[in-house]
Structure formats: C-alpha cells, structure tokens
Symmetry: C2
Subunit: 151 residues, 2 copies
DNA sequence: TTTGTTGCAAAACGTTTGCAGCCTC
DNA sequence: GAGGCTGCAAACGTTTTGCAACAAA
C-alpha cells in the first residue's frame, strides 16, 4: 500500500502508543521495531532474536514482551499456522492479503482478492467492533498435489 | 446443515478413511470419535481426554494421535486461536461459520455470512487445491468495549 | 527517586517421542 | 504371527515467569 513508508512514521505510531499506555520508550523496543521494519515476510520470535544480535543485543524475553506490545498497538499480526511456533507479520508496508497453507508440507503463499476483501470489510456486527482479520485457505500446493498422484 | 446426522454415518466416514489408509480400527479411535460426536463446540485435546475418562480410558498420546487422523480425513478442523492450546471443532453436524475473537478477553463467537462464503468459495487457484478455510475476525466484544470506555 | 523494564535462568505449558507390551488384521 | 497401536513417562521446543540489577521518567 504505502510504498514510501519511513521508519520514522512507524516509530511515531509506536511512540504514541507507548506514551498513551504509559509504557517506557526503551532502546530495546525501538531496536526490535527497527529490525522488523527492515525485514520482509513472516518471522518467529527466535529468528528475530537471532538476526538482531549483531546490531543490538536483547534477550529473548524482551523480544516476546515487545512483540506483545506491537500486536496490541496493531503494528503486527500473529499467525499461528506453523506448527508450534507463532509467526508474526508487520501490518505496515504490506498490502492486505490472505494465506494459502499446504496441509502436507506447510508451505505458505499469499494472495489477494478484492471480492473477498470487500465482502469481509463490509460486514458489520452489533456488539463486536472488528479491527482486523485473517483468512487461511488450506489445501495442497502444486508440489504436494503432484506427489500424491504418483502413488 | 444435516440435522439428523447419526453417529453411524460419521463412524462410516472414519472407518472408510482408516481402511483406505490401512490404519487399524481400534476401539480407542471410535471411542474418541463418539466423545466428539456427543459434544458441542470447540475443545482442546486435554479437555477431551479428561471428559472421556469415565466412559473409555485412553491415554493423552492416543487422543493426539486420533485427532490427527480425524483432521486428516476432514472430520475435524483445528483452530489455533486460544493461546498455546489448539482448539478443535467437528466439521459434521455444523453449518459453515466464521469466528469473532475478542483480543482482550479471548471470547469466541460464531457468525455466518453468505456473501463472504460465496466470495471465498468461488475463488480458485492455479497450483493450489483448496480443501477448507478459516476466517477469524479480531476485535473487541461488547463487554470489553464497554469496559474500555469507562476508563 | 520511583517503578517499569531488562537479562538471565528456571519453570511451565502443550505436544511429541521412545519403548515394551498388546491387539488388530 | 506380524506389525501397527497403546499407555506411560520422559523429552522436546516455545513461551512465560521470578528476581535482582538497571534506567526511563
């Protein structure tokens, strides 16, 4: 969506959130946000932790703590699809998309569909204020489908 | 959908699956299926395990094993929404629905929407054979929304 | 100065695994 | 009778927690 998104803009969102919730603006939190900003795609807590050790050392506990804050302020979404590990994905700098998940090999692809998006977004509820959503389609990817046929 | 669904019908689906995959038809597996058949709503592995101990004693490992089989043959769907624990839901005897998840209290409601359903089901992919899908809407339920306003 | 946050290590939690014995086929 | 399945307990990997030291406000 926003192609020219700067780190400063994202940082401001986070800063405002921290201020409003009376949380402290620690260097660790911004270092983690920066790391997320600089990288693409899905990630889990541990890989984020590993990748940022060279730039700014934080503990894994702090990573989890900060991820929770980022989830709470809507800068991140959590996907529970990969086995035991939760995957995270930033909500900024991406266009809205859905996920195709292969039930055999676990591979994940993204897709977009305007009709689906419109149908979901136009839905309103009495007594529920929706903020975001996740759509997962399960099935067989090309590779696993052809492997199955060989049998 | 099918209001007059009998256990025998479901059992037959499972039996056929086991036969086709050359898995054994053990009493444990059918006892677990029966327990699922007799109860409504979402459940996790451990609560299923606890609830059935009076009727037929099985180990937790066997519960997990059997849940995997039931997932594989499509009689069950797995929802990863509640914290660390996976929730399961039977696909028989239910109508298709989606989930509203409160990000504050974790409560879950179901809803149906024909337009959304149609939009998703009419979507096809080259190189991906979709078998089922899950849609989760996140937000604030009525209770949590009013609590937030009080602040 | 106060108290939220950090790092560390230990604990907790759901789930998986190894293995000996059992039971379906 | 052979080999898949079971129960049990131990192991696993992710996430959470307790606590003392630290640093943002």
């Amino acid at each position: 969506m926003k192609e020219d998104l700067t780190f400063e803009a994202v940082k401001e969102v986070f800063t405002n959130y921290l201020q409003q919730k009376k949380h402290r603006k620690t260097p660790e939190r911004f270092a983690i946000l920066k790391q997320i900003f600089d990288n693409e795609g899905h990630f889990d807590a541990e890989s984020l932790y590993n990748h940022m050790q060279n730039e700014y050392r934080v503990s894994l506990a702090t990573v989890y703590n900060t991820l929770d804050l980022l989830l709470d302020c809507g800068l991140l979404v959590k996907h529970p699809f990969a086995g035991q590990t939760s995957q995270f994905e930033k909500t900024f700098g991406n266009s809205i998309h859905h996920h195709l998940i292969c039930t055999k090999c676990g591979s994940i692809k993204e897709f977009s569909d305007k009709k689906i998006r419109t149908a979901i977004q136009s839905k309103t509820f009495s007594g529920f204020e929706s903020s975001h959503y996740s759509l997962y389609l399960y099935g067989l990817c090309k590779k696993c489908k052809s492997q199955q046929k060989k049998k």
